[in-house]
Symmetry: C2
Subunit: 83 residues, 2 copies
């Protein structure tokens, strides 16, 4: 079995009031930074054990969909690890 690393970015849906993002946005504007808007989400780095990349992707997607992201209020993108 090999090890594969993914990055799952979970963001609030556009229709949902992103209270954290709004708070950061107001704070940055108050500091005088030329910031127009700000949204805050989560980044989850996952190391998955699988026989090949395809299988690892299936696992990462399943985990993201079912457990990391509340699809009612959030969307996710699966990508490379980072940071």
């Amino acid at each position: 079995m090999a090890e594969f690393t993914f990055g799952v970015t979970v963001m609030p849906r556009k229709e949902v009031l992103d209270t954290q993002g709004r708070a950061v946005e107001e704070a940055l504007k108050r500091e005088g930074e030329p910031v127009l808007s700000c949204r805050v989400g989560r980044f989850v780095e996952l190391k998955v054990s699988a026989s090949d990349r395809k299988q690892a992707e299936v696992t990462a997607k399943k985990v993201a969909e079912s457990l990391l992201c509340n699809s009612l209020i959030e969307t996710f993108t699966l990508g490379e690890a980072n940071g």
Copy 2:
């Protein structure tokens, strides 16, 4: 002035105990998912107003360094918007 969008990924430093990541990791293992490890950080999408991309990057980097990331316990990477 134009509008530029950045994604700032803020992750706990490797030396720091990532309690959120550990909790998610244990939960996924309990569910029987073939997950080896998990780290949880933040993803901040920033829209910056600037005259060109270079200037926008300077602002985004400054904001990330000074306000979005606590460099004592976290590191950040500046990238493209996402999600």
